[in-house]
Symmetry: C2
Subunit: 284 residues, 2 copies
């Protein structure tokens, strides 16, 4: 018998277990059952630290930039001067980190239902969570839908950085009622983005997300990015607005922060909205 | 004890086993050790039939369209009238199927080193292999490099649809010597494409592939596509030519066959060449 211990392996299955991905865990930094979900922080030599909720990868340090840049900068650069921003979900702080790169931003509300997510990410994931302590950021530990339903004409940009729509905390964030509340919480010329799953293993959920959103917003535009940390790597986001198309309003603003960007650039913005034929047909 | 048998699982590991993907095998159609490699055909309820060489997925029926359309139509539509085409590798027939959609094509040489790949794909994978019997197609079972080194100014389009560069049959197809032979086998205005790995788990191999190619071709342009059947889903291809940029020469030709295309379209062609910042920097 070998004296080496068997390494831990994290298996993440999709499609009733018919397909999935795995990575080797070198170290478990933290595992906790909160009031809402199980929160894990692992370490992997290939991926850096991994943050998972209920056994589903939320981010890994190596590839989170692709997701966070694309969910944040597409709406942020589509607004002419974003000052007040609302982020729903995203307790890891990655989206907040990107939002705060925009010098026009004065105030960010972060609504994360689970205070343990905030505490654990602050402790173990400073690469995404360090900006949660920024003085422009206010953290609200409550249900995102309840929060946004109290707001009217308040935000320039709303970003929904939620868990999957299947169950639990994220479920109410994929409904017409929620999207309508977001629309009403936006100022004139306000813009919205949300994660919208993938067309490879969750095509039905993705379609339903867009159907609900189209009931609430006159302008809904799907866009895509390579997000290798998620199932299939083919991630879809939704841009929406009452009145603003997702065009870059001032490209000189990109030049100001381009040294901090690893995925997003001027050309990626427009090309992200170009969809392969099968996805066009699915969402038409 | 349950009477149900444990289902078979196919595990495909990358990065020294630190990460990987898996799928459940419902049926093994064929497994054979040929002179060159182990050839497997599996069936999966989620992915259709899967064709693997030495334990590495070459294709699955559900998502092969993305890979085959993007490796074939980007060069084919960049040429003003492709008549003679050479495909190196690609014994599954998927690339040939796409090439033959172009009515201008008169002759296709397919150079697949392993005759068992051809026979097994013809038997078990008609969805990609049925066009291997087309009268315009000539199959040559020999080393791709040896074949192309005998050819001079003969082809309008050359497509290298090879295995990975790590070992075995595909290794000689990622060298300056091979790329130079391809350049010399092209006619004036000839164009070239090749699979070039992924930047997520094989960034070094991808870089090396482009370095070698740039020694042989004055014009080398990386492009990308979502290919969910491969590691990370983020697949990179290389377009190259002596004198022709990868611009669509006649968009009316796309309209003629667009009913048969599920990934490629007019706008995808150009946007495929727009790269995320990290990849731009890696390949500059």
């Amino acid at each position: 018998m070998s004296k080496e211990s068997t390494p831990l392996q994290f298996n993440e299955a999709f499609c009733k277990g018919n397909v999935g991905s795995f990575f080797r865990i070198d170290k478990v930094d933290c595992t906790k059952q909160s009031k809402f979900q199980r929160i894990d922080i692992f370490e992997s030599s290939e991926l850096g630290k991994i943050f998972a909720l209920d056994g589903v990868t939320m981010l890994n340090e190596r590839w989170e930039f692709a997701y966070h840049e694309m969910i944040a900068h597409v709406p942020m650069f589509s607004h002419k001067s974003p000052k007040n921003v609302l982020v729903i979900g995203g307790g890891d702080g990655g989206t907040i980190r990107e939002v705060l790169k925009h010098p026009s931003v004065e105030k960010v509300d972060l609504v994360e239902i689970d205070p343990d997510v905030i505490e654990i990410c602050k402790k173990y994931l400073p690469s995404t969570a360090s900006k949660l302590n920024d003085q422009k950021v206010s953290i609200h530990n409550e249900d995102g839908k309840n929060f946004v339903m109290r707001k009217h004409s308040e935000y320039d940009v709303i970003i929904v950085d939620s868990t999957d729509p299947y169950k639990g905390a994220g479920k109410s964030l994929f409904t017409e009622e929620f999207y309508s509340a977001c629309r009403d919480a936006l100022k004139e010329n306000g813009v919205f983005s949300a994660e919208a799953e993938n067309p490879v293993y969750d095509g039905k959920e993705m379609e339903r997300c867009f159907e609900e959103m189209k009931k609430a917003f006159p302008i809904v535009r799907p866009y895509k990015a390579f997000v290798p940390m998620y199932p299939s790597g083919f991630w879809v986001f939704a841009y929406a607005s009452k009145d603003v198309e997702p065009k870059i309003k001032d490209s000189s603003r990109i030049n100001q922060i381009k040294g901090t960007l690893f995925y997003y650039n001027l050309e990626i913005h427009d090309s992200a909205f170009v969809l392969p034929t099968f996805l066009r047909k699915l969402l038409d």
